[in-house]
Every structure is written in C-alpha cells, then in structure tokens.
Symmetry: C2
Subunit: 139 residues, 2 copies
DNA sequence: AAATTTATCGCAACTTGGTTGCGTTAGTTT
DNA sequence: AAACTAACGCAACCAAGTTGCGATAAATTT
C-alpha cells in the first residue's frame, strides 16, 4: 500500500484515488489486464480516456509494459524487474491463451538474440507463443 | 501469368481482373503489402471491402500470410513455400523497419521451438524483430 | 491556512481501420 | 444460352483509441 504510493511519487505521478486503485489492481493480477478488465474491476466510475492516459503514464514511467493481445487490443502487465522510464527491460516471451484470451508473461523464457545479415539493425525483438493455458487445459 | 491464374483456379477462386492483378502485385513485391500499398498500386478503382475480402480469401487458401505491422495494421506477404489452406507453414521470423514502416519475411531465421512448463500447450509462435532495414541504413 | 500552480479528470466530438448487409455484376458450369 | 453463385460496390455501421478543452483536485508556495 504505502510502497505503492511511493512508486507513484518516485516517478512524479500524482497519487489520485483512481491511479492508486489501478496500480493496486496490477499488483494483484498474476497475468495482465485489458481495458475491459480494468473497466469492470474499477466500476463504471472512470472514463475510458482517463484509463488510457493513466496506462500511458504508467508505461512511460516504467511501471507497466504493454503485452501482445489476441485481438491486438491494448493490454498491460506489471514490470517486475523495476524498469526505469528510460530503459524498459522485459525481454521475456509472452503467451497468449486463445481460449480465455489472457496473456501471460513468461519471465523465464528469454527472447533469443538473432543476428541478421549485414544491413539490418535490430533494436528490439519479441517472441510470442499462442495456445492454451493451464487453466484452460481441462476443456 | 498463366501459372498465376492456375494458382487461383486450383484453390477454387475465380480469376477476376482484380484478383489477378492483386496476386500479380504480391509476386512482384519482395517484402509485404499494406492496404494502402494495394490501394495506391491498384488505383482507386477497387473498393476497400473488395480488397479486404480478397486478402481474406487469399489467406484462407494459403496464397498469402499475414505479417506483423508497425502499427498493427493489416499487412500480407506471399507464401513462398506453397502453403495449403489447412496448413500454413511459415515459421520464420519477421523484421519490421521502424523507419520505412516496411515488414520483411526473414525466411532463413526459424522461430525457435520453446518448451514451457507443464500445462501450457503451444500451437503457434512468432518471432518479430524491429529496427532499421538495409535501405534505411544511410539515414 | 489560503492562494497558486499544474497534473489529472471527464465529457463530447472525432478519427481510423475494419466489418456487415444487400442488391448487382460477372465468372463458371450445365 | 440459361442457371448458379462467387465476387463486387456502395452505404451504413462498429469498436478502439485519440484530441480538445474546461473543470477538479493534488502538490507546492506563500
Ligand atoms: Mn511481459
Ligand atoms: Mn513471412
Ligand atoms: Zn486460458
Ligand atoms: Zn526501412
């Protein structure tokens, strides 16, 4: 709780009721959150513009990172490895479950370093896996 | 030309002027095509709905495959390894140039096979690299 | 504590990429 | 040539996300 508010303060973000609630929500989620997830969890109180802007601010300050989504919608997960606004380092794979539409950070699988032939300069890479997650296996 | 019409025929697609032109365009492109690319190349003649439906039909019948795009827009490239409607096999990496917004198929880089811990079942994987392409290096 | 400053919020209006419905056109088959 | 049906074109629609701007409320200064 208090540590949470500190994270906002450290990055020069204001500790508004909504942003505290949003950040709390992220810490409580093991996977990731879509706009819909947030809307339904926060209640209808907050406008979608507010949500988008908060997510944007959180991402820029290294609190969360965007993850791939089944339908390419906005979706975010907490940065576990204390990212800095300048350098987000989350070079892990992501898993999209096509059954429950959830996206999981696979922190223990690194994105492989690829070397391309002369001329290509790589700045970032992503490795995305698709299939069914443990909870959706029974079906 | 004639081989091209055959490909359409083989898959039960009609050889309309537009679809022949579109498929020709794909064979002439070394990288990939966005809707805008197609629009400007085909002239204003064809409706966007026609383009979307043709791309959809081509993809379903294994002529083209969707590639990632800088802004998540629709973008397609020719299938070089003769895909079947049932099984598209294009497990190669893709490179997005953030300068010219082009997407390249990196046919000689395979997407690595990943093994996850019990419970996750992987159906498909994608490896996407981002940076600047050879033509955009000088800048 | 009051005044000031400015990040954040909320509403409305807009943009964009893509989809759906449906009547028309034109390949393909008989 | 007649029949059948994939493909086309237009209009209307949809959903995710963005922009502008005035109102609210944290944070800072007096
Ligand atoms: Mn992640
Ligand atoms: Mn490809
Ligand atoms: Zn699942
Ligand atoms: Zn380029």
């Amino acid at each position: 709780m208090v540590a949470l508010k500190q994270k906002l303060e450290e990055r020069g973000l204001r500790k508004t009721a909504f942003r505290i609630e949003l950040l709390t929500l992220f810490t409580q989620t093991k996977s990731s959150l879509s706009i819909e997830d947030i809307k339904s969890s926060v209640g209808k109180t907050s406008d979608k513009v507010t949500i988008y802007r908060a997510l944007d601010a959180f991402e820029k300050s290294g609190l969360i990172h965007r993850v791939p989504d089944k339908a390419n919608l906005a979706r975010y997960a907490l940065c576990h490895n204390e990212c800095k606004p300048e350098a987000h380092s989350h070079n892990h794979a992501h898993f999209i479950c096509t059954v429950c539409d959830e996206t999981f950070c696979i922190e223990n699988v690194e994105v492989p370093k690829i070397h391309l032939k002369q001329g290509y300069k790589i700045n970032s890479s992503t490795l995305t896996l698709e299939g069914s997650c443990p909870s959706c296996q029974s079906a």
